[in-house]
């Protein structure tokens, strides 16, 4: 282990702001993007369920 303490690890030899600013932004975006992709899919599924229900209802009306 090359770090003597956690605060030394955070300081990154005086470059803490730059190093953690980079890794932080990367982590944030890589958490948000998959969530957005999942939300997009679940929205598509909700929309599909609504469409299928509407189609069935209109079919029922025409047959009855």
């Amino acid at each position: 282990m090359k770090w003597n303490s956690f605060s030394e690890f955070l300081a990154m030899g005086g470059h803490g702001l730059y190093v953690w600013g980079s890794f932080g932004a990367c982590l944030l975006l890589m958490v948000v993007e998959p969530i957005l992709a999942r939300v997009r899919r679940s929205n598509a599924l909700t929309e599909l369920r609504r469409e299928i229900r509407a189609r069935k209802e209109s079919q029922d009306e025409t047959t009855s």
Partner: protein
Amino acid sequence: MNNRIINWFKFASPQTFYPLAGKMIPWFWALTAIFGLAGLYLGFFVAPTDAQQGEGYRIIFIHVPASWMSMFIYLVMAFWAALGLGFNARLSGMMASALAPTGALMAFLSLWTGALWGKPMWGAWWVWDARLTSELILFFLYLGFIALQSAIDDARRADKAGAVLALVGVVNIPIIYFSVKWWNTLHQGASVSLTRSPSMAQTMLWGMLLMALAFWMYSIAVSLTRVRAIILERERHAGWVEELEELKS
């Protein structure tokens, strides 16, 4: 011989690709985590302090993978776009649209981490250097592709327009790659090249390669998730969609 051709066309249909992608996604997430944790461990706890740049150089562990992926994803996107344009295959266009946001994210991360690296090392967040400028153009190409596609209501026409833009933009990729050779730039030359041994410590190199693999797996996982959403959006009138397990509940 014939089997191979048939398989190709089989997986090229959204109907067979949709469940296949769903099965592959968890595996790519697992690989992202494994490579990512190993890369971060090497990058932060094993790789030595750089003689010139101190600890600040550790930005390399995301800056280089993000930059590589931003260029590579563009090539893959242009490849799918060209295939869609040439063979009029539905899935190809969807793949291209699914890749664009992830590529834009990688280009953004490349620029962002580059700025945070440039400030302490060069004393400037940004310079109009050949490499930086061509990477910025790549970011704009992604945004232009996304904007152009979303501006056209008809999905097939949006694919075609996007494909032309993507293919014209390919010219930018070698410009980015060779910019540090062709012009006198502030940006340092390639740390890793195929023709000579890398100019960095072994552990640094391995950390960077592992992170690059993690970014690669991440890109596949997230674009497969997105392409599934796009398939559902575009194929909503197809019979097979109605039969999906997800819609039974």
